[in-house]
């Protein structure tokens, strides 16, 4: 599925919920399902700066596509990452670089989370896109 279609899927999922509390619960549930990152990737160089929680991001390329795996000590952050991974992992690098990720605003995520957390989210996205840029230029 394309990035845009995947974004659309997420938006539709969230339309089921009226309240921020329910959306939060849903993000937590997604976070809990995110497969744990192998400890060997929990390196300082994989840590994302600017997040209040510890967040490790591991990226790799296979068959011309970019893949992401990640972990955090915060289940909520894992939920956010899971959403990003759903949309971006397994996509062509160029798609990742250009992904609008408008769903984040549409589902009301950014509006509800604290500035510090929003900055953390932005750092995550930036880091994912940076990997993709790097891979894109290698190809």
């Amino acid at each position: 599925m394309s990035v845009l279609d995947l974004e659309k899927e997420i938006i539709e999922d969230f339309e089921l919920f009226d309240e921020w509390e329910e959306k939060y619960q849903y993000i937590i549930e997604i976070g809990q399902k995110l497969p744990p990152l192998d400890d060997k990737y929990k390196l300082d160089e994989n840590k994302i700066k600017g997040c209040q929680s510890s967040v490790w991001l591991h990226a790799y390329a296979k068959d011309g596509l970019v893949y992401f795996e990640a972990d955090s000590d915060s289940t909520f952050v894992k939920g956010e990452i899971a959403l990003l991974i759903k949309v971006l992992s397994g996509q062509p690098a160029a798609e990742v670089v250009n992904a609008p990720l408008a769903f984040i605003d549409t589902i009301g995520l950014r509006q509800h989370i604290a500035v510090t957390r929003a900055n953390g989210l932005s750092s995550m996205i930036k880091q994912m896109k940076l990997y993709a840029v790097g891979m894109n230029s290698k190809q």
């Binding site: 309240e19 921020w20 509390e21 939060y24 619960q25 937590i28 209040q52 929680s53 000590d73 915060s74 289940t75 909520f76 509800h112 989370i113 604290a114 957390r117």
Partner: protein, 417 residues
């Protein structure tokens, strides 16, 4: 310092609903849910009279003070000067000359660290603080100690968050030039035996600064009874506006200290050759002060006078105790800070639950608590935890809000564990 537990009758008679009507924000919503504000240790809410005072000031009184002979300047100066006396009475200082207006607790401590420190600290001298200090009572001393090559010593605390007076006494030496100690810990709730600590320090002629940022909000403080040399607190935590706080200093201490910032107001005469400084407290108040907020702080003090402060503090104590009791009953919850003498603050962690996730989940229910280190990183280091969830109470909170928190915590455990 012994707290008499409020009787059931007393609690029933404490009319919290009437009090809540004085605070407009308490009837607002957060994420569509009624606001349950339990982050009072970070900043208190403001009664309508304080807000209205700001409006009145800017709508009918505003002018720069002290240097003007005109009508507005006169009226504004008068109201401003009156607040100094109000604050003097509020903490029972011996003279209004002992009341310095600052931005907040942090600035008050920096002022003393800088002015007292530059004058009195030399290589090898010691400054004594405790293991439970707020960053604002650590970093200023680290900075001045580094500059003056003095040593920062730390009074340890036990696993309940209590200082041992014996250990404290053994750290007081001829090298100790000042003790700076928190009255009530903002992350643990511990109320320290400051009066006894001051007595012990004074026996060795060591002056004591008391960080009363939390203490002033939950205790009636009498500086002459305490006999502290300095007392620091913030307006925004005690129903007043942001941007204003108080440094109390004994007249003799303030007289002995060099000025802090230079500029208008703090001088007596200026020439390029020779400048002489104004008397205390003006010597420490350079530039246009925060006139409006000082005046509104006076209204916050008036508000405190208009209620039964002792009853309010006992009621807060009741909320805190009840909250602790109910939390302790929940499996997986561990209270951090279990001193025998505590005020307002309940800090806790939940096994296998990230504190920030829990805080954020509570927030989705409209419940405002704080999570993290609460600007007391060394406390978290001692307890080997990244942070706590902290609920802190004011007399406008209710037992229903305590119960909402408890239910929220239970839900959080269910979801997050």
């Amino acid at each position: 310092m012994e707290k008499t537990t409020l009787t059931e009758k007393g609690i029933a008679e404490f009319n919290v609903e009437e009090i809540r009507r004085n605070f407009p924000i308490l009837s607002t919503k957060a994420h569509g849910k009624p606001l349950v504000y339990l982050d009072n240790a970070a900043s208190s809410q403001k009664p309508q009279v304080v807000i209205q005072k700001l409006v009145d000031y800017y709508s009918s009184l505003n002018a720069n003070i002290h240097r003007g002979v005109h009508y507005l300047s006169q009226k504004a100066s008068q109201e401003f000067d009156d607040v100094r006396v109000k604050v003097q009475e509020f903490i029972n200082a011996a003279s209004e000359r002992e009341i310095v207006f600052v931005r907040g607790t942090t600035e008050a401590i920096n002022l003393v660290a800088s002015s007292f420190g530059r004058k009195n600290l030399n290589a090898g001298d010691e400054v004594l603080i405790s293991a439970m200090e707020h960053h604002s009572n650590i970093v200023p001393w680290q900075m001045i100690c580094e500059e003056r090559k003095a040593v920062l010593k730390v009074i340890p605390m036990n696993d309940r968050g209590e200082i041992s007076l014996d250990e404290y006494a053994s750290l007081l030496s001829s090298k100790t030039k000042i003790v700076s100690i928190v009255h009530t810990s903002n992350s643990l709730g511990t109320v320290n035996p400051v009066k006894e600590m001051i007595r012990l320090a004074h026996a060795k002629n060591i002056p004591v600064l008391v960080d009363a940022a939390q203490g002033i909000v939950h205790t009636v403080i009498d500086v002459q009874d305490l006999d502290c040399d300095f007392l620091a607190f913030s307006g925004h935590k005690m129903l007043g506006p942001t941007g204003v706080g108080i440094l109390y200093g004994k007249e003799k201490q303030l007289e002995d200290m060099p000025p802090y910032q230079g500029g208008g107001e703090m001088i007596s005469s200026v020439s390029f050759e020779k400048t002489t400084y104004n008397e205390i407290p003006f010597k420490f108040e350079a530039g246009t002060p925060n006139i409006a907020d000082v005046i509104a702080l006076g209204t916050a003090v008036d508000y405190y006078k208009s209620i039964d402060r002792n009853a309010a503090f006992e009621y807060e104590h009741y909320l805190m105790t009840e909250c602790s009791r109910l939390l302790a009953e929940i499996p997986g919850v561990r209270l951090i800070g279990t001193a025998s003498n505590k005020a307002s603050v309940v800090s806790f962690v939940i096994d296998n639950v990230n504190a920030m996730d829990a805080g954020m989940y509570l927030d989705t229910m409209g419940i405002a608590v704080r999570t993290g280190q609460h600007c007391t990183a060394p406390v978290m280091q001692q307890f080997c935890i990244p942070g706590t969830i902290r609920a802190s109470f004011m007399f406008y909170n209710t037992i229903e809000e305590v119960h909402a928190l408890i239910e929220g915590v239970k839900k959080a455990i269910k979801l997050l564990k």
